[in-house]
């Protein structure tokens, strides 16, 4: 039996369709006005899975994640087909985390029970805001009351639930965010993802921003909101374990931990990315065609939708481990970094970061960002990665 590599092994399944495109979102999502053939997509996803199973056979699957797009537009049967295929190809045990992203509309909530029967045991609900006016600006299809109802149903249906919020929105005040945050925690999920709004290229918000019609929050206020979020969530039992993710003890998202611990993951579906350690130790970065129908055609004609499978060099692996690993409160294993990257941190840069209170040693071998270091993490990582 093949041992799982450091960091675990997960499967990511991308469902690329949405009812509408949200103006802030740069994910690979597409709106289709004709129904798509879920059977064909399920079959194509299974085809891709089988191909990856040949590259990394015999693994134990720690997690399966249905992301999107809007995976809660999938029929429960589609989800079931894919999970059965994963179980057939690798070892999938009852302890594996099976997550799915869902939008909290009343229509989608009716499918929750079906997903649970198919094997999903963790639901991540895209609430985004607890204010109807703000939800409109964010282009969401649901209201606050719909969202609260959906969370109620989810809590009764799934052992674990999480939800997402977007903050540091235009014109948001510190006080308003504090109230919204507390209300969100009242909804009693065991996991919260809270992202500061950023302008991503190719989005409607970017066009508005470029045209001067969207004003971003003052960066100092955004920094205050970040600090406040850390304090409030810690005080209420949901401390952050990653830059934007907060969880009760033992409720951390196993799937995302695989990314951040720089483990292995298979990515199937349009525009999905993977990282695979092959038998000979080679680390492969994979990605697939983004456009759904093109991807479908590729899989059906040639057996996969891959557009790149690149071998990552030592430096690249080291950089990725830093980029992902330093986001975690547990930090990174420095000997593993040195082995992967083939380099050591520049001692002067490391010393400066320590003296500025940006990073600290947790043990002889683990280095992590401090509370002060997290809001500046991109700059911290650039320092660590520089010669």
């Amino acid at each position: 039996m093949t041992v799982s590599p450091v960091g675990g092994f997960g499967i990511y399944v991308h469902w690329p369709f949405c009812l509408a495109k949200c103006p802030y979102c740069d994910f690979n999502s597409h709106v289709r006005h004709q129904p798509v053939s879920q059977e064909r997509y399920a079959k194509a996803l299974a085809t891709e899975l089988a191909r990856y199973a040949q590259m990394v056979p015999g693994r134990t699957v720690d997690s399966v994640f249905f992301g999107g797009g809007t995976p809660s537009l999938m029929e429960p049967k589609t989800v079931e087909t894919i999970l059965n295929e994963v179980a057939r190809l690798w070892h999938l045990t009852s302890t594996a985390e099976i997550s799915m992203e869902a939008n909290p509309t009343s229509v989608e909530a009716t499918r929750f029970a079906g997903y649970r029967s198919a094997g999903v045991n963790r639901l991540s609900v895209g609430i985004q805001a607890l204010d109807d006016k703000e939800l409109k600006i964010l282009g969401r299809q649901h209201s606050v009351s719909e969202a609260i109802q959906a969370v109620e149903i989810a809590r009764k249906t799934f052992p674990r639930i999480s939800f997402d919020l977007i903050y540091a929105r235009p014109n948001q005040t510190l006080k308003a965010w504090e109230q919204e945050l507390n209300r969100a925690i009242d909804l009693a999920a065991d996991h919260l993802s809270m992202y500061q709004l950023t302008i991503e290229s190719g989005t409607m918000f970017q066009r508005l921003y470029a045209a001067g019609k969207l004003e971003m929050l003052d960066p100092d206020l955004a920094a205050d909101m970040f600090d406040l979020t850390q304090k409030v969530t810690a005080a209420r039992g949901l401390p952050s374990y990653e830059v934007s993710n907060h969880a009760a003890p033992d409720a951390q998202c196993q799937h995302n931990l695989i990314y951040w611990r720089y483990g292995d993951y298979v990515g199937v579906g349009p525009g999905a990315h993977g990282r695979l350690t092959l038998e000979d130790g080679t680390k492969l970065a994979t990605s697939t065609e983004k456009h759904p129908e093109t991807w479908l055609g590729l899989v059906e004609s040639q057996g996969h939708g891959s557009i790149s499978e690149d071998i990552l060099g030592h430096g690249e692996q080291g950089d990725e481990l830093l980029l992902m690993g330093m986001r975690l409160h547990e930090g990174i294993d420095v000997p593993r970094y040195e082995q992967l990257s083939g380099r050591q941190f520049n001692p002067q840069r490391l010393l400066n970061l320590q003296e500025n209170g940006m990073v600290e040693w947790v043990s002889n071998t683990r280095l992590r960002a401090t509370q002060a270091g997290f809001p500046l993490l991109d700059a911290v990582i650039a320092e660590l990665a520089s010669d």
Binding site: Y12, Y195, Q196, L197, T198, P219, D220, A222, A223, F226, V243, S244, N256, I258, Y259, Y265, G267, G271, A272, H273, G274, R275, A285, S287, E316, D319, E320, L322, L323, M324, R327, N352, L353, E355, N356, M358, F374, P375, L376, L377, D378, A379, V380, I381, A382, A385, S386
Partner: protein, 601 residues
Amino acid sequence: MTTKTLSNIRNFSIVAHIDHGKSTLADRLIQSTGTLTDREMTEQVLDSMDIEKERGITIKAQTVRLIYKADNGEEYTLNLIDTPGHVDFAYEVSRSLAAVEGSLLVVDASQGVEAQTLANVYQAIDNDHDIVTVLNKVDLPAAEPDRIKEQIEDVIGLDTSDSVMISAKTGLGIPDVLEAIVKQLPAPKGNPDGPLKAMLVDSWYDTYLGVMVLVRIIDGELKKGDSIKMMGTGAVYPVDRVGVMTPAFVATDRLGPGEIGVLTASIKEVADTRVGDTITTDKKGCTEALPGFKPAQPVVFCGLFPVDANDFEDLRSAMGKLRLNDASFSYEMETSAALGFGFRCGFLGLLHLEIIQERLSREFNLDLIATAPSVVYEMEMTDGSQFEMHNPADMPDVVKIKEIREPWIRANIMTPDEYLGAILKLCQDRRGVQVDLSYVGSRAMVTYDLPLNEVVFDFYDRLKSISKGYASFDYTISEYRAGDLAKMSILVNDEPVDALSVLVHRSQADKRGRAMCEVLKELIPRHMFKIPIQAALGGRVIARETLSALRKDVTAKCYGGDASRKRKLLDKQKAGKKKMRQFGKVEIPQEAFIQALKMDD
């Protein structure tokens, strides 16, 4: 080929302000005398460097021999020396002008006389030139030839009754120019039987022929095989070739008095030839050298450092190659605590500095950091010793200094009078002393004495900006004067940054210190901690800014699909950091070293 009859030779140069059409006129003269066929013509034939063509300036003197059959039926040899127009090359210009008997003064018929025109035409007059005035661009709607003629008479005092009206662009009036050269300019004089006496006008390096020396024969004859002596350096060389430029080199048997031509003589580098030197024969040569010879004297210095320390050897070799062709540029190794190994380089002026920097990056593909330009200070010490200081980092202990002297210039500025007030203020702010102010119509001409160190940073940029580009400026180095100067250090995060220290006049120190701190605050990116930026004079802080700490720089979302994209961003960040220089804990971007000295008065 026999030596030309003196009476059928005309030697001339063209004097003009930049953009008034000097190079275009030269092109037309070459074309209409059939020296080059239309197929061989490229724009600005005589400006051979790309930088010259792009900027419309002439850096090296060039020469061309034109054969012209005049209306009187006789054939004339016209030798044109195209001179650099810029003040940085004033000495080269003066030697070129001394090698010819006349000048064409080219003035744009709508813009009129500019400061640079004046400086150059006065030099021509000082060299006893006869001058043909040429009004160019007379075909343009804005042309006012009569008004400009009057201006030339008023300002320069030249008779314009024989002026030639042309459009160099369309070719209008070009035959009249050729006729005027023959009729209005004098033939050279010289003694064909005397010992060889020739002026070294310029020299350059040719990949195939080696060092080529442009000469004007005053007396005697120069032949292949002659053994010649440079009177300034005493060096003796056998002449390999003599010839003329057409503008390509064409070998001839000999050059006689009044002629302008080229020799090669196994000279190893351009630095072995001194512009203005007198060339004679090794044996039975002339005894008296030509007057006016001066060795090249750099007036502005700056440090050039490779961005990537590994490029140091490449930089050294590039400097060596440039120097082969430009003896007026000097360099010596320098080490800076901040910038590592590099070179302290001397230039004839700011344009020269810019050109060399640009050629290093363009022709040798080198990424460079240039430190603030500095002038040469004369230091007189209490023990009576003296030295020239090229670098503020070499500033000795203040108590040992008796006196510091700095170079001053005399500047001529011409401007439409609506900008005069702002220009006078600029000159006053830069410690200028007004010498003269006069008007020609609505144009003011002002003469100021200014310390060069107030001019080297950004005076010209400021002048252009406050006059919306209308003012023109020209200067000559005049003298060294004692000044109340002190070294100002810049401290970033409490550490002195040697490459940013400058010598300032005490009266300017507060203002300059404040301005530098403000600019640095804008240029240095925010760090993870707050950074004090201070200017200090002696041990005393005279200006201070604080760059506040960075508060937030973190990607909100980063999952499995983001790793590749984030890695590419990290590569860019790392590359950006390489272009910064580390001072203690602070990273300073390269452009800071030069930008910090620009002031918004």
